[in-house]
């Protein structure tokens, strides 16, 4: 069993490894964890002693296979709880993050197994992020930013890049939600703004929006 703090560090390293595949720097981790570099060094030493990460002084840190599985277990719990909060308790998708941050640390294999079943084995969380299975496998799909599509193309909304409450509320207000089909009717070459068809209506959206919406093209 690992402490709350250890689990949060593992999660942060997991996410940062996508950006820094050769090793996550102490400063990057300090930034992500909103803490000081010296604290990060201390924690990395602990994680290293527990064989959760590979660490060489001044060379940054990477998860071990054991560390990766531990991080993914926490992420799995986080995303399942988010589905619970939205689907069962009626939370809006911009309200779930901080509660899920707490719930993800509850320790009970049976709890998460039964929750998964209760939710009917969801594959994605309310923001469209994939939920890993208990072995740590993520679903992969041809996920692209809406901004990358051309006039005439279409796809299903599967997630957001920016998950700030402001953006999520903008989406709600305009009827954009996960699972909705979007057709690109026009694309303005000057500012990349788009005219899209959604819910049977036409809607004008700027490049800021289309650059933060993930789409699955069949």
């Amino acid at each position: 069993m690992f402490s709350l703090s250890e689990e949060n560090y593992l999660k942060a390293i997991f996410h940062l490894e996508r950006t820094y595949p050769t090793g996550v720097s102490t400063n990057a981790l300090a930034e992500e964890m909103s803490t000081k570099a010296s604290s990060v060094t201390d924690m990395i030493k602990r994680l290293s002693e527990k064989k959760l990460v590979a660490y060489k002084k001044y060379q940054g840190v990477m998860l071990s296979e054991f560390g990766r599985q531990t991080a993914v277990d926490v992420i799995r719990k986080h995303r399942l709880w988010e589905v619970f909060l939205v689907d069962k308790l009626g939370f809006a998708w911009d309200e779930v993050h901080e509660v899920a941050e707490q719930l993800e640390h509850i320790k009970s294999d049976k709890l998460i197994k039964e929750l998964d079943r209760f939710l009917d084995f969801p594959k994605r969380d309310p923001h469209g992020d994939p939920i890993p299975d208990s072995k740590g496998n993520f679903v992969t799909s041809n996920k692209v930013l809406l901004a990358e599509l051309k006039k005439g193309e279409s796809g299903i909304c599967i997630g957001v890049k920016d998950s700030s409450p402001e953006f999520l509320q903008y989406l709600d207000k305009n009827g954009i939600a996960l699972g909705k089909e979007i057709n690109i009717l026009e694309k303005e070459s000057f500012d990349q703004s788009m005219l899209i068809k959604l819910n049977g209506n036409e809607l004008k959206i700027s490049n800021v929006i289309s650059s933060n919406l993930y789409i699955k093209t069949s």
Copy 2:
């Protein structure tokens, strides 16, 4: 906001106040918390500084009104989560305690409000203990031990005194569950054993059993 440890102490004091209404001794608390008396003294000082308890050296401890409300909030969360685990996730009533011990510390007013609604505002947990409302009021009812009833009397099973897995499994095996009606057909004056009617069948139970089952007589 209070720490996990502080909340657990408040809960323990709340429960012990029923047994020691004039003040909970340091040793009693140490026993309940499975810790040392010196640790208890330290914690009591912290709780006292935060106005959660009234404390005079060597005189034991009692909850302040603020402390009582805080303890009851935690108990409310514990019991609501137990209902969730049993009713929604299919846990047995002897499996829920340790998971609920973790879930009770999640901080979110909205979460507990929506969970209460989702569970349809339950009044008792799976062991029959009353769930306080958000203001800290418990339902009260004419709750008696089955052993106190006489031949010919009857009532509804509403809770257990001993909530050990062994006892709960015994009850399951014999079809005794919350909400079931029990009629006392015979009561043996020699050993207080009873012949009861339950689920349409007759069942012989010893005094050990009837002394640990709470019954609501209408």
